[in-house]
Symmetry: C2
Subunit: 70 residues, 2 copies
């Protein structure tokens, strides 16, 4: 509930840091751009398999995706 939103914001932060678009991230992860949009807005979280691909695409270990600065 809370977690999906925090996670989404974190993905967006790291994506901006990497200076890539949602579309580019979507391609690398292998999902649609809408799915990335939904993840970043906290509509839904990624599957575990896609979580792993997001890590790889953003070039960060899993724990970095769950480090929220409040």
């Amino acid at each position: 509930m809370q977690l999906k939103k925090q996670f989404g914001k974190r993905v967006q932060q790291l994506r901006h840091a990497k200076k890539i678009t949602q579309e580019e991230l979507a391609e690398q992860v292998g999902v649609s751009i809408e799915s990335i949009s939904n993840i970043e807005r906290g509509i839904h979280g990624p599957s575990f398999d896609n979580l792993e691909k997001i890590m790889t695409a953003l070039g960060v270990p899993a724990k970095k995706l769950f480090e929220f600065d409040e």
Copy 2:
């Protein structure tokens, strides 16, 4: 692929540290004992909603669940 196994082992570590059984964890998360068993063995990962409940049940922040040693 890799992530689910690492995550499963981490859950087991933290569950042992809390000295609770799979059954007790299952109750608190609201899933069956087999589901916890499958998660710990890396058969499948939890949904994002259940990930949040696992955090709560184990009393750790999300990032702790993704801190794998070595």
